[in-house]
Point group: C2
């Protein structure tokens, strides 16, 4: 017999994978300056430190690290990761912290626990592409919340809650991907209140929190949540290493934590003990504050170089001025199309991601996402000049 598309689960059939993965294939071209990715800088990665810690923890814990572990995690890591998250006001302790394979798995397990086909999830628009795909894989109905320069507009979100009775709200509160926007403090408090009032779980996806280059740290949404409606999701990908795939979900509702643990039993039994022990040692040896300070120093200069580079862009271009994170978001003048300009940019050896991909409902062809973490300052200057020239030409 012939294997056909109809053999796939119904909601998986239309999902053909991330469009921007196709974009990434173009980036191997020699001389290409890429603002398309979302990786940390290679200079933020420390293979020597990880090798040393790997040796230390394998000597310390021996066969324990190589045997099966508990699904709910390696207790030393749960403790040190909870302490790290708590520094900025995340609630809950080690017993509420679930180690996961990056923030992606935290969201996947939450969707698995909660979503029946057709259930509504509220999300920002634009939002993280991976989250859009994950929600579609669970056959959720995505409803976009209105946002402005302070993030989600609370009153509009409340109207949507009343209308759609969503089970879940997905928010990236700090230096949002793709826009770089940070949710205002009073809105964080108000969203926590909405969650509690209407019984909506909030997935607070906060992987960039500590990559702050200016302004004051804001308390997480979870810090305002007295009843346990907010699941706080973090990751060590942007701080220590994406390739190690280690994140943490802080789930203060024990019923919900238990259901996510059950989902993880079947998904992968537990997160690797070696990576949990390495990150635990990293945190306990006090390496994180100095490391974050060092990488933020570099990223701040790169962000500034990118912001200055917008002087090369067509007049009328608007862009965000993020206080941290990895991305700047731009909107080209009326009549322009960032998707259409993309092949010309690639010809000129510079790349970005067209913003339309980040909208659950598409459209918004004038927008684009620019990443600054993977290029040194002079490269950013050169790239912005190239891109500006392409766009000015396209604007004619």
């Amino acid at each position: 017999m012939q294997f056909t598309e109809e053999m796939f689960a119904r909601h998986m059939r239309p999902i053909t994978g991330s469009a921007i993965r196709e974009v990434f294939k173009l980036l191997g071209k020699p001389g290409m300056i890429s603002f398309a990715g979302g990786n940390p800088s290679n200079t933020a990665l420390e293979p020597d430190v990880i090798a040393r810690l790997s040796g230390e923890v394998l000597e310390k814990y021996g066969t324990t690290l190589l045997q099966y572990g508990a699904t709910d995690g390696f207790m030393p890591f749960r403790e040190s990761a909870a302490a790290f998250l708590n520094t900025e006001g995340v609630l809950g302790g080690a017993e509420s912290l679930l180690p996961v394979q990056g923030g992606s798995q935290a969201f996947d397990l939450l969707l698995k626990a909660l979503i029946d086909p057709g259930d509504v999830v509220l999300c920002e628009s634009p939002t993280f592409l991976g989250a859009i795909q994950a929600m579609r894989e669970y056959n959720a109905k995505l409803v976009a919340m209105l946002t402005d320069e302070g993030g989600v507009i609370v009153e509009a979100a409340e109207e949507l809650i009343k209308k759609h009775h969503p089970k879940l709200m997905y928010v990236i509160p700090t230096f949002q991907n793709p826009t770089g926007i940070t949710l205002a403090c009073e809105r964080r408090k108000a969203l926590a209140a909405l969650a509690s009032k209407y019984g909506v779980v909030i997935a607070e996806d906060d992987p960039y929190r500590d990559l702050r280059y200016s302004g004051e740290a804001l308390p997480p949404i979870q810090s305002f949540d007295e009843e346990g409606w907010v699941v706080y999701m973090s990751s060590f990908s942007k701080y220590i290493s994406p390739g190690m795939r280690l994140g943490a979900a802080m789930v203060r509702n024990p019923m919900l934590l238990r259901k996510m643990v059950i989902g993880k039993q079947s998904a992968d039994v537990h997160s690797p003990l070696l990576t949990q022990a390495i990150v635990d040692a990293y945190l306990r040896q006090g390496l994180m504050p100095g490391h974050i300070e060092r990488i933020c120093g570099g990223y701040a200069k790169q962000l500034n170089a990118m912001l200055e580079g917008f002087r090369h862009f067509p007049e009328g271009t608007v862009h965000t001025v993020p206080q941290g994170g990895l991305f700047v978001w731009a909107e080209l003048p009326q009549g322009m199309d960032a998707l259409e300009a993309f092949p010309k940019a690639v010809d000129a050896n510079v790349a970005y991601v067209a913003g339309t991909y980040f909208y659950p409902d598409g459209g918004h062809e004038r927008t684009m996402r620019l990443n600054f973490s993977m290029c040194e300052v002079p490269v950013i200057e050169e790239g912005m000049q190239r891109l500006g020239a392409v766009l000015r030409e396209a604007a004619k």
Copy 2:
């Protein structure tokens, strides 16, 4: 508002986690001899070797191992893992091999790709508990196939296929968990033919394959599959380390592989590069054959000790005589109940898992699973003596 059970996804509500995880909590008792687990022996784990390889690969690949990687895997590992699986007749090369977080994730991604709620999956009965839970989480309808001492009875399976039109068949062909039974060679060939004739995907879960202590290696079901209906799932958990969580799925149908990769993008983006590189180095340095020979030597003695220990059991007990793997399966004489006897065994400081848990439809209270890999020979002798005494007492 109050969070209630009704907020969970419908099919997740009744799933309350593995019953045998509760059993495992009893095993910390001092002096307890446990035949309940399924872990490799601690003597099979090599923290020094893993520490050395970890240092070597981090030096060799540097920041590459700490950056984001491709969802479809780290190419050197895909190559060496494919070569390792191919030794026994698995088909497909590196481009068909998907690195996963243990065999569990391979099955999870396959279910995600294929199963709509209510779809039928054929499985052995008894079968692996984790697989039962995973299938229930996708709301699959489990239909048990008849088996005998040669594994799945092909004619009966064909009748079930005609009746239920399953999308998927789940089989553990070699040293099955929980029974230790191996699927006969001609039946492997016949199942591959059924898959192709009726368009059923076979999930061939084969994590114990190389833990063979007697008899000849058999070709995998996949080796008879000309059309790509069989997904071969393996794992390095039982050979190198379960705590590292690394396995591999060999998926020769490119459409199906692509859909599993898409599922993995959302689930965890990719498997950690560090663990892929460590296992790759282990394989390329030629450490596997000697390691497997060494651990099989030990396990063979432990298995024999356990088989001999059945002389202490009540008359009329029958048990399997596996040629490898980690488990022996026993059926107590008529009228006895292994679940009922369990607390008495725990009082006598010996533990096992009642067989009823491994049946999708329950029942079969006379059966039990005994693991021999975690106890040295004298401990096995003592434990079988204790257990035999408890059961003989219960038989009175």
